[in-house]
């Protein structure tokens, strides 16, 4: 039974479910889920986006970072009802349909911006949001943004280099055109 197919709980005449419509990585999505469903649950269990990682579940570690209308958000601490009518982006939407990596993904691969990879999807989404906000961030601004997320492997130096490289790649024509 898929989560969408479960019985709708209710209290009296009040349904405890909410109907949602949103855009996910360029495709329309419609779901009916319990009101307490988080975006993390929705994206992983209902939409199959397993690149959205669950970890601290307190909005602290950033592994679950997704973009909602271009803004980085902790999917673990956002209710699904809040993304009704919005545009949601996950790490699965970064690469081009032909598999060409985005500038951020290329940069992280070039610079070794990950080891175990658990935090990487969140780091990539923070990088995407940062470079949309400012295509030419300095090291201090990159540090400020990336400090929102936790990496237990790299010591951050190579992540900072990856973001700088992504900004550099973004300023040159890329197959995927991201970031712009």
């Amino acid at each position: 039974m898929t989560p969408d197919a479960q019985d709708s709980p209710s209290v009296g005449d009040e349904k405890l479910t909410v109907d949602l419509e949103f855009d996910l990585n360029g495709s329309p999505e419609r779901h009916s889920v319990p009101t307490s469903t988080t975006v993390l649950d929705l994206l992983r269990n209902n939409c199959g986006k397993r690149g959205v990682r669950g970890s601290c579940e307190r909005s602290v570690c950033g592994a679950c970072t997704v973009l909602i209308d271009d803004v980085p958000v902790a999917a673990c601490s956002t209710f699904a009802f809040e993304i009704d009518g919005t545009r949601v982006e996950t790490v699965e939407g970064l690469a081009a349909k032909d598999g060409t990596l985005s500038a951020q993904q290329q940069a992280f691969r070039e610079c070794g911006g990950f080891q175990c990879g658990f935090c990487t999807s969140g780091m990539l989404m923070m990088t995407t949001a940062l470079l949309r906000e400012n295509p030419e961030p300095d090291r201090e601004e990159i540090r400020e943004w990336i400090s929102s997320n936790t990496c237990r492997c790299t010591g951050y130096e190579m992540i900072l280099e990856s973001v700088e490289r992504a900004a550099q790649l973004g300023r040159t024509p890329q197959a995927n055109g991201e970031p712009q």
Partner: protein, 288 residues
């Protein structure tokens, strides 16, 4: 979560354990007020970062009213020497607001220093205050400025931000915003370099008759903020002795400010150091 609340001990985190609730999504303040009157037990949802955390900690709201689409709560204005900030203004919007940057740049700087980039995009003024968590910083930042909270029910109720912990958890209506009087404000600053042990927000105001009042608010992780105040017969900030005033403020900190992360005596020392540091900065720059 519910299992933990029932004393089940350490259990695997399972988001499906979050209890569902009746959800209302009003699109105007009158509609939200009406819903709140129909459901006085309802909890208001702003950015939801803290509400999700509370539910994971065992809170089980039966009714949630989301203020996400009540756009009139997102306004910021400065008129007649009063800065008004709507309760749904996010930390990001507040700290980058042209009005706040123009009339109270130090408040914008302080606001932009809390949490992380991602949380600042999501967290709101109202959520930060009404969560009533000791460790959250806007109660400290705004109490020093003598910020006033405005609640809308059938009537409007106004309460100082510093009174957040003076009453039970039930709010007298929907928090619509906070106002700060800027006309008499000479200087404002916030020190969080010793967080989470101690933070200090400090405001210097000119008194209506004569003299200058220094208000410092001491925040920490596990104790509610304490408001400390000193009025001196001075005409300019540069007339104040930062170390002496810092010592007077620190001496007002009660023994209740101490906890296992720092004794009251240690916190008094920190408040003295941080307050005098802020006052020295104030005397040097004389800006709001």
């Amino acid at each position: 979560m519910r299992g933990q609340k029932l004393g089940a001990g350490l259990i695997a985190q399972n988001q499906s354990a979050l209890p569902p609730f009746i959800l209302y999504r009003p699109t105007s303040l009158p509609e939200a007020v009406d819903l709140n009157e129909q459901h006085p037990e309802a909890v208001m949802a702003a950015g939801c970062s803290d509400l999700v955390a509370q539910i994971r900690e065992g809170y089980e709201p039966e009714v949630v009213i989301s203020l996400q689409h009540v756009n009139e709560l997102r306004s910021i204005s400065h008129e007649d020497g009063v800065l008004s900030i709507g309760s749904m203004v996010t930390h990001h919007a507040g700290s980058t607001s042209p009005d706040i940057r123009a009339f109270m740049p130090a408040l914008a700087t302080a606001w932009g220093s809390i949490a992380t980039v991602r949380i600042r995009y999501r967290g709101t003024l109202g959520g930060n205050l009404m969560a009533r968590r000791f460790r959250y910083e806007l109660p400290v930042i705004l109490s020093a400025l003598n910020g006033q909270m405005h609640f809308q029910a059938s009537d409007v109720t106004t309460l100082p931000v510093s009174s957040l912990w003076d009453r039970d958890a039930r709010s007298p209506g929907i928090l619509t915003g906070v106002t700060v009087e800027t006309g008499s404000l000479l200087w404002y600053g916030y020190e969080r370099s010793m967080r989470p042990v101690s933070t200090v927000a400090l405001a210097v105001r000119r008194q209506a008759g004569a003299g200058i009042t220094v208000t410092a608010v001491c925040g920490s992780e596990y104790r509610q903020p304490f408001v400390l105040s000193h009025t001196a017969a001075a005409t300019a900030i540069s007339d104040l002795d930062p170390v002496a005033v810092g010592a007077v403020l620190a001496s007002q900190l009660p023994d209740a400010a101490g906890d296992f992360t720092g004794t009251a005596e240690y916190r008094r020392h920190l408040v003295g150091v941080l307050s005098s540091r802020l006052l020295a900065r104030a005397a040097g720059y004389q800006q709001k």
